[in-house]
Amino acid sequence: MADISLAAETVFHLGPLPVTNSLLTTWVVVALILLGTFILKRRVAERPGGFQNVVESVMEGGLGLMDSVTQDRKQTLKYFPFVFTLFIFIILGNWLGLLPGVGSIGFHEMHDGHEVFVPLFRGPAADLNFTLALAAISVVATQVIAVVTVGFMRHLKKYVNFKDPIMGFVGALEAISEFAKLISFSFRLFGNIFAGEVLLIVIGLIIPYVVPIPFLFLEIFVGFIQAFIFSVLTLVFLKIATTADSH
């Protein structure tokens, strides 16, 4: 039976810190993004060709989509770096996890007596640590940006309200819902991508020829949608948190 492990397996240690296969893949994603950035920066041409063209059209699409959510170009430009980075990071991670070799190339280890297969690479989002970290960044950044934009007291008034009992209760619920956002962001991304990996492994075990193709297409699509949802939801929560509610 295939060794499907919920937690990402450690491949080596950097001193006292374990490095998991998901972390290794994350480093590959970061290296790819940095490479792309340096290539773009070197030759920024007035009449773009090839790579720059693709990046520019993707950015235009992203800006247009963000405009439809924020209804304000200034806000879009302000949040674009953060939201778009989330999108690019997650989508590259998801798609890299589908490449042949990821999840299949690895080494055999002995764990408590029986032999376990440890893949060298694994989709980054299939590790709850990765998604939890991104979710924490998203939620904390939303709070910080809200405080910086709207002002500390006004932002606090959304959650803590002593004058009106009903609004006070609503405020408490909102505070709890911030933590629910943390859980929901991380588990949505983790669940989707990990379930996709398990699905591909199981299908590959049953019929390895031809049949995995539609499932691979599904996973490509799911990878895109989950990255999209993560970034759009971050943007929506940012927008909600920075609108000063005037009752």
Binding site: L6, S68, F187, R188, F190, G191, A195, I229, V232, L233
Partner: protein, 75 residues
Amino acid sequence: MDVDSAKVFAAAIAIGVGGLGPGLGIGILAAKAMEAIGRNPEAAGKVQVPMLIAMAFAEAIAIYALVVALIIKFI
């Protein structure tokens, strides 16, 4: 029934029942969105993005059920 067989059942029931609500929810969402687009085809672009966002929330519940099933199965 010993613990291991109970675990197998628990995992299956967790995701099976857990998929009902979100499935219905997403179906209703999509139906309303289709209605809206049918009534006003020009608003298709404006309806799409909020529909996707709402579907993400509904799907998240199914994902919670899936994660519980996975935890039961693998831990």
